[in-house]
Amino acid sequence: MMKKIKMIRLELDRSIYSDEAVQKAAYRFIDRFAAIVSRADNSIVVEITFGTESSNQREHVVADFKKELLDQNLRLRIKTETEAVRNLILAYAFSKSGLQE
């Protein structure tokens, strides 16, 4: 029988994953596991501790978490690229003089 591992350690390449993306992803999972995020050289380390879940459940959650990491990365890219136009739209929306002048 395999030994039950309750802690899982992920090492993420910092040239791909940003701190913010990792933290946001971890936050979305606080109802499913406890996570400690730290830095080591060129990587971000996520240490995940589970409660009483079966190994099957844990695998599922970790798989979902990995997808979430990629999604958060994508979200940040979108956010960064659209920040300026977002501010422009809000400035238009709040301007008293109205549009197009």
Binding site: Y27, R28, L74, I78, V85, L88, I89, Y92, L99
Partner: protein, 486 residues
Amino acid sequence: MTEKFLPVQDYLPDSGTYELLPFKFEPVGADEVILTNLTGEFLYLKREKLDSLVSHRLAPSDADYRALRARHFIRQPNDRATLDLLALKTRTRLSRLANFTNLHLFVVTLRCDHACHYCQVSRQSEDRQSFDMSEETADRALDLVFRSPNPAIKIEFQGGEPLLNFPLVRYVVEKAEQRNRVERRDLQFVVATTLSMVTDEILEFCRVHGIHISTSLDGPEDLHNRNRPRPGRDSHRKFTDGLKKARDVLGYDAVSAVMTTSPASLPRAREIVDEYIEHGFDSIFLRPLSPYGFAIKTKSYQAYDAGSWLEFYRAGMDYIIDLNKRGVRFVEHYSSVILKKMLTNDDPMFVDLMSPCGAGISAVVFNYDGDVYASDESRMLNEMGDATFKLGNVHSDSYRDIFASDALLSVLEDSFASSAPMCSDCAFEPWCGADPVFHHATQGDILGRKPESEFCKRMMGMIRYLLDVMRADPQAKSIFMTWVNS
């Protein structure tokens, strides 16, 4: 085609020249995502398309490209109208916010003839002095009401049972009307009552002054009586009699009803809807219990979680949609609030589902003793000994003290869902709200830890249900479109 006309390809933009506009996404199933933009418009996309979209590799000839550009998720550098429209829609969404307080709740007494388990505040006491609002308090509250810059003013009388202190209701109505001869606001009155103690005299007063009645109906007789115990166990019969009387005098549309979901209601969604139909209502508000007052004290709040309520909600909605398809027009209001944000640029300003939260902005509560709260729920919280959301007291504080109070400002600031953790990147945020009082009450934190929040689970559940229905059933979507524009 003759040669002087150019083919459609000649009018497509060049590859890779588009710009992304602000949007968020959430996974839907294994290989799809849903995208929402700044103003709550949405569309579905395959995962691989999302990647090419963000990498500027989506081809202009792609059908998804057309939809994304038409719905303002991307634009060509020369698309000036896109920014104008997004700004205009954003402004429309926020415009109601600019009007500030519209709904003013007057708790004219805490006394009540009912003893509902889930009730937040009522008292069975006979002691008038301690739990009734005085004329002096009402005068001060009215001073504040008319300080609101909103051209529309709605005064809602609550309790307890406000009919137990009807002389004060008369007093406030007459005083407000008197002031309004100069103020010229769009002034409306509502009395929230079980109708158990309604008299001809009271109704005549309501008729003359155009006062609407908001009453309570929880479901079939046995359920209603069980939820709303009163001496004689005749709550439902009293309601039925009162409803008929009120409609006879005030007119059919001047009386509306709200329901509260007790644990006993959960398996009975259809019966509850049927009960509303039987009484001639054309809408219902499937309202979950709030975690306040006796609901927490008596543990009835913990009696069900978001999951069980969602099951109840979905059963009710399935039935309601089916009714509409059979030509019975019947609206569910909770869904309508969310759908309005999905399908229009209008924000219905429903106090629990606003961002920033509606506290103090769309509603303000004057308690019987002159205390001012940011929402009805904040008042309940104060009854439990938690004064976080008390804004002040009409006897000791000025308008400025109250509406620029730290209690209000910090709640507002903290409750901009678009800046809250997790909410800030949630694609459903444009359709959701903050409900800081809820999160404070259940988690001791205004923002709430969303992954563990029942509020978040409930909203996610409702939103996903509504999205699935609209996607699978165009007829249901058409029905929803009529709901949000009525």
